[in-house]
């Protein structure tokens, strides 16, 4: 393979990874909430949006590091309030009711932000240590010539991987994770065993919101901070959940990367690029109706 081709492939894979990672962070929350609570949360894009707006304000007033710490916490609290104040009343209602109420919530959040901050996007400057480009050819041995990538986007990929890793650890190796995983399989049985699953499920909603908050802090400078962004992120993220298999964390991660790569590798063919994520969804669902890693009995 010629050097140019290797460079091109490498850059495209990196771009695909970066595109996929934001979707992954939003989709993880979505799939987690769906898997545990059985709620299709269409307000999840709005949580990302709120995260991004909080990040702009806090980063502007106090500094970026404060945003990194405070925004996920704020979103966690918002998530808990949302679950206790509204969502819990919809657990036993049909999915259509849940979709309507969360979709309504998303519209309220979007319009409220538009009302407070205006319809235009708010500049979200990248902190000085994240600015500039990284000369990848100096670090990666098989690259030749001049291959660069914006530093912030590399940071975004890194942060996403850490968040996803941490979530896996939480679910696989902690008691909390064990309860959550068993609750996802059979909530009734877990309850019979004397475990207060409701409280833990509320925490899961908060956790999903927290991840959306982290995505908002690090993704905001890339996706822009404007009221329309929430909805724009929701549709691909929802597709990621469906393609990955409803309720499957690993599936969401794989699907996010697949969609990111699909977008990156079709960039030059705009007529295909604009429909590629839907095309992937159609192909996957035709061959695997439950999604890549969907389990039997979930959302059926």
């Amino acid at each position: 393979m010629s050097g140019d081709l290797i460079n091109a492939l490498f850059l495209q894979i990196l771009t695909g990874l970066q595109l996929g990672m934001i979707y992954a962070m939003i989709a993880l929350g979505l799939t987690l909430i769906f898997g545990t609570l059985g709620v299709v949360n269409f307000a999840h894009g709005a949580l990302y949006l709120i995260g991004a707006y909080c990040a702009v304000i806090i980063a502007g007033k106090l500094g970026f590091l404060y945003a990194v710490i405070l925004v996920p916490l704020i979103l966690f609290v918002i998530g808990i309030i949302l679950e206790r104040g509204l969502i819990q009343y919809f657990y036993d209602r049909p999915h259509t009711d849940q979709i309507l109420v969360t979709f309504g919530l998303a519209i309220v959040a979007e319009e409220a932000l538009k009302w407070i901050f205006g319809a235009n996007n708010i500049p979200y400057p990248v902190p000085s240590w994240g600015q500039g480009i990284v000369m990848l050819h100096e670090y990666v041995p098989f690259l030749s010539g001049f291959v660069v990538f914006p530093k912030w986007r590399l940071i975004l990929i890194l942060v996403s991987l850490v968040v996803i890793g941490a979530l896996f650890f939480l679910l696989q190796f902690t008691r909390f994770g064990l309860v959550i995983r068993s609750g996802m399989r059979d909530a009734e049985m877990v309850r019979f065993l004397g475990i207060n699953i409701t409280r833990r499920f509320a925490a899961v909603f908060g956790l999903g919101a927290l991840i959306a908050g982290i995505a908002g802090v690090f993704g905001g400078p890339i996706t822009q901070v404007s009221p329309a962004v929430g909805m724009k992120m929701l549709v691909p993220s929802f597709l990621v959940v469906v393609i990955g298999g409803m309720g499957s964390v690993a599936g969401a991660l794989i699907a996010a990367v697949v969609l990111g790569m699909a977008l990156s590798f079709t960039a030059e063919y705009s007529s295909i690029q604009q429909i590629i994520i839907y095309l992937v969804a159609v192909v996957v669902l035709l061959t695997r109706p439950r999604g890549l890693m969907g389990k039997k009995g979930v959302f059926e």
Binding site: A119, R153, S226, A228, K232, E268
Partner: protein
């Protein structure tokens, strides 16, 4: 007999009532016109005749979406134009020939309604229809997206209400989609290409390889065609073009394709927030500090505006070439009169979008005064082939054959942080291109204007 009588009574109860109702509606609708046609030369068209002592204008601008910044500035200009039409001031002092009095139009006070096009043709049409049907506007204007402007032009022709385009730069607006009821003061992509081609070749040489990223709708498509045509005339090669959806926020996948090509120039056929995003991200990808084919990599933004330059920031636009319809630093009397009154009103200088909307409103009002009526076909005739000065540099000419206004335009270059003097001083005028250098034969583009009276 009795049966038949009963039948006819029953039949009358519904179908016949409807039929009779429809027939009387037709008679009621057309009757007065049948009697007045011979006695009045000017029959009712659109919202003519204007009733009451206020004449309403409609301003339909993008208040949300990718072009919201431009829309906000357009609305400021429209409000100022109404103020000047009612009370005098601004370009009323400089526009020649002018019949404007500063006391309304044809003895009526000017009122206005505004709407949000949401940068979407469907939303724009709905909003415009509301203005025409509910608010009875005699003229409406607005812009910042050519697909939106074209949709409204078609509606204008259909409804018999004149549409004075705001910012729209697609060749189609006064080309294949030109309409008798639509007028454009703003320049177009063809003129941008014609003005920019030679300047680019001078600055960057004739052996250049260009990669285009283009907004995927009528404006982007025609601008890509025009810039391609005029740069290739100078010897440039067009390597590739990617159509990007309007309102894209992350351009990384497209910029990666540019990096992977052998292009040494990136042409961004984007406007508004799209341009702010794509340019900022291109700079983040290191494209301003890069070398390709042994030359410095260059970025070109064919349609520039001060608002976009501000959004992208001085360090990103530093040295980037483009073209613009107008800039607030122009020193002719008309521009200065407008800039001064705009600054007095809002505290900062107007954008090119504001200038074109302001001028369009005045030109429409002036045409009504000169025609002595709001009757649309007469106002259209007064605007067609109208030559005027005092609304910007040089003499402007509204060509009757395609409703395109021709005037001087500017080739500009972004000023870096160390060059700019003040927050709004962002564009350096590289070349003042004369009207006669950008004018083109009317048959360059196809299309028909349509009739003076809507069918």
């Amino acid at each position: 007999m009795t049966d038949r009588k009963d039948d006819s009574n029953r039949g009358w109860s519904r179908r016949n009532v409807l039929k009779a109702g429809a027939a009387s509606a037709v008679i009621a609708g057309t009757g007065p016109m049948i009697f007045t046609r011979n006695s009045w030369a000017q029959d009712a068209i659109g919202n003519f005749p204007v009733k009451g002592d206020t004449v309403m204008f409609g301003f339909n601008v993008p208040q949300t979406g990718a072009y919201a910044d431009e829309g906000a500035d357009e609305l400021r200009a429209y409000k100022l134009a109404v103020k000047h039409l009612n009370n005098g001031g601004g370009m009323l002092e400089t526009l020649k020939p002018s019949s404007l009095t500063g006391q309304g139009v044809l003895g009526k006070k000017v009122g206005y309604v505004s709407g949000d096009t949401q940068t979407s043709p469907d939303a724009a049409r709905t909003s415009a229809r509301r203005m025409i049907e509910r608010d009875k506007v005699i003229m409406y204007g607005g812009g910042s997206s050519s697909s939106v402007a074209i949709a409204q032009q078609y509606l204008a022709q259909e409804m018999g209400v004149i549409f004075m385009c705001g910012l729209t730069h697609s060749n189609d607006t006064t080309g294949k989609d030109k309409r008798r009821y639509g007028f454009r003061h703003f320049f177009n992509a063809y003129m941008s290409g014609k003005a920019l081609g030679p300047v680019l070749a001078d600055a960057y040489g004739t052996d250049r390889r260009a990669f285009h990223l283009t907004a995927d709708y009528t404006w982007g498509h025609t601008q890509y065609q025009s810039i391609k045509e005029f740069t290739e005339k100078e010897g440039w090669t067009t390597v590739n073009n990617i159509m990007t959806p309007l309102g894209t926020s992350d351009y990384s996948q497209f910029l990666t394709a540019v990096l992977n090509s052998d292009a040494d120039v990136l042409v961004l056929n984007h406007y508004g927030k799209d341009m702010v995003n794509s340019l900022t991200q291109a700079v983040q990808f290191g494209m301003k500090d890069m070398q390709k084919n042994g030359k410095d990599f260059q970025i070109v933004v064919p349609l520039y505006s001060r608002l976009m330059a501000q959004g992208a920031g001085a360090s990103n636009i530093d040295g980037v070439f483009g073209s613009t319809n107008w800039n607030w630093t122009l020193e002719d009397a008309g521009s200065q009169a407008f800039v001064k009154s705009f600054e007095d009103e809002y505290g900062f200088p107007p954008s090119q979008a504001a200038q074109t909307c302001y001028v369009q409103t005045l030109l429409y009002a002036n045409a009504c005064e000169r025609a002595g009526t709001f009757y649309p076909p007469e106002v259209i005739k007064a605007l067609e082939d109208f030559r005027f000065t005092g609304a910007g540099p040089g003499e402007a000419y509204y060509r009757g054959a395609d409703h395109q206004c021709f005037k001087d335009i500017l080739v500009v270059q972004g000023k870096g942080p160390d060059q700019k003097q003040g927050e709004y001083d962002l564009l350096n005028i590289v070349q003042h291109v004369k009207r006669d250098d950008v004018i083109y034969p009317v048959d360059t583009f196809s299309g028909e204007l349509g009739p003076y009276k809507p069918a």
